[in-house]
Symmetry: C2
Subunit: 351 residues, 2 copies
């Protein structure tokens, strides 16, 4: 069967994880760009800044002093969007004025004691420690909360307000919109086709080799057929894995290695510390731990904003906000695949 | 009945037009902002720039010379995302690799011959001409296309690449995701509650007066109860109006007046030409013109990015992209209502 379409004309592609469409305008990159130009990421970040609340031994907003940590470091977000004890807004609803209680917990995890390092520059053993902490957190917070969102905003362009390498973990008493969509779509797919959607998808992409960015024994990274962001990727295990803590030790080492290769490619694309938002989606937790969740397959999304260079981004505005996501090149044309996966960028030598 | 909830704690609110939820974290604005700071909008835009392809008498990318227009000016987008004649990608689909034909037309409309003017600085009579053109375009393109999206990206922060005041009109052979959602939600609401959703909503908001920004005999502007962007507004007619061309002459004059008041308020909030993406949603057109579309109510969305000042924006990243939209203050706390509606800003005197 022919299962991909590489067109040079505009067309729509279906996103089966979100049950929606993206407008692919293959020919639109020819337009000249006279719009906003971004500041390239800061390059001279000091390794240690005593005024940075994320550094070892710094004092944070709540007065606590960070330990002299030498690996990962976890703490409660000092300005949490979710708190465990918010009151219930009550039940006097009108269908047009519906509110619901939202409870949860927001944590921050530093990846490393240095501010001038990023995941792709870390050693695989150091990345492995981040991975183990992710697994622990999903296990721990997931024992009560139905959803634990691990995400990293990298770069000021992606709203990151602190250059120190870190991610966030927001656990919530509710299943948020995006995972609720992924839940419905994957459930429906299994019911209709008898197989987990993303397991099938990974197999087909691995065979086609048209959108593969990096792969190893346990993992596959592709530019999804339905990618909306330029250079967007989807990271998938080859085995059927419901949740992050289910990963074996071998799979975790292998994940550290593929993350390093993927992120090094990103950095080498425009020779810049590549901005993105990334996050993990696995089967819902809490009371869902007791349910049959075989339609789920663990995966991570990488959403990078850059389009043409280190300083020209894709704006998801006007048409995209009001009508539908639109991209200026096909997913096949905009892939980090071609970039160098091994040469670390920027180099830490010289420091 | 009590139909609104003004909380000081985090909670979820339901968006009945999108069937999704927004996380409202009322207490999160206290966090210090050390992240990206935006360039304020350019202030010294020349009234006429012969190198700007949107100005009267300029030569555009395709070699055409603009007329010496003195009101609105309409032309085909020289780098269209949608073209009328794109080939069909064919029917060899797999459920995970679905593509569809997308055809359409993209137009640009200049509001005024001057580059240094914006809608709120234009005379009501000049705005009325824009409104009449919008009606004409929906009528004309809507006779064959099921969806005609009128939108304005204002400001470089919103991806606008040309300071000359203009909007875009993209007509498509398909109903895009967002209007498809609004179609489903409004249809469902009428079926369940026997009244058009937004007609009911406008009445309740007009009565409550808690989120009203500006109003007149024919129009109401509110910060919707489910607003996700800071300072987001929804512009609604008081009468049941399915589509833009159905507006009477009186309603159009009244619209020009309320747009001017709303946009002047926006500009006065941070004393800056306020960036936003805005657009119109009315009942689908084309073959839908023959169908019963009484569940629809015409409306415009204004989505502004600024959060704290002219240079600090709200980033919809990480958690928002991967889990759910989240806001740092309640919709009631962040409203353009308080701003001055009459004092024009920036002043054109001095030019
Ligand atoms: O068409 P323009 O103004 O060049 O481009 C702008 O609006 C488009 C429609 O919202 C977006 O797709 C672009 O990302 C944005 O930069
Ligand atoms: O939590 P931070 O890093 O201060 O803030 C950043 O990430 C959050 C979660 O994605 C967003 O809500 C904010 O808009 C963004 O600036």
């Amino acid at each position: 069967i022919i299962f991909s379409h590489i067109f040079s004309h505009q067309h729509l592609r279906y996103n089966p994880l979100r049950d929606s469409w993206v407008l692919v305008s293959a020919h639109r990159m020819k337009r000249p760009w006279k719009g906003q130009v971004e500041k390239p990421p800061e390059e001279n970040i000091p390794r240690h800044d005593p005024n940075n609340p994320l550094c070892p031994l710094s004092t944070r907003a709540n007065g606590e002093v960070n330990p002299e940590y030498d690996s990962t470091f976890l703490f409660d977000n000092d300005f949490p969007a979710l708190q465990p004890d918010a009151p219930d807004p009550g039940s006097n609803y009108h269908p047009l004025f519906q509110a619901k209680a939202a409870r949860g917990i927001c944590k921050v995890m530093c990846f490393h004691p240095w501010s001038d390092i990023t995941l792709p520059l870390m050693q695989p053993g150091e990345i492995r420690k981040v991975i183990d902490k992710w697994a622990e957190l999903i296990e721990e917070l997931g024992s009560t909360y139905p959803w634990v969102q691990i995400f990293e905003n990298r770069g000021a362009m992606m709203g990151c307000s602190n250059p120190h390498p870190h991610c966030q973990i927001w656990a919530s008493s509710f299943l948020p919109n995006e995972p609720a969509l992924a839940e419905r779509c994957q459930r429906e797919y299994l019911r209709k086709h008898g197989e987990a959607m993303l397991l099938r998808y990974a197999r087909m992409e691995a065979q086609a080799q048209e959108r593969v960015v990096v792969e190893n024994e346990h993992w596959l990274v592709v530019v999804p057929y339905w990618a909306t962001w330029p250079f967007q990727t989807l990271l998938l295990p080859r085995r059927h894995v419901l949740r992050f803590p289910d990963l074996t030790s071998q799979e975790r080492d292998s994940l550290a290695s593929i993350m390093k290769r993927l992120l090094t490619k990103y950095d080498n694309l425009f020779e810049v510390s590549f901005p993105y938002s990334m996050g993990w989606h696995g089967a819902p937790t809490g009371t869902h731990l007791e349910e049959d969740m075989n339609h789920w397959q663990l995966h991570a999304h990488y959403y990078p904003p850059l389009l043409r260079s280190a300083t020209v981004r894709k704006f998801m505005v006007g048409y995209e906000m009001l009508a539908q996501e639109q991209r200026d090149l096909t997913p096949e044309q905009v892939s980090p695949a071609a970039a160098e996966p091994l040469k670390p960028w920027p180099s830490l030598t010289g420091k």
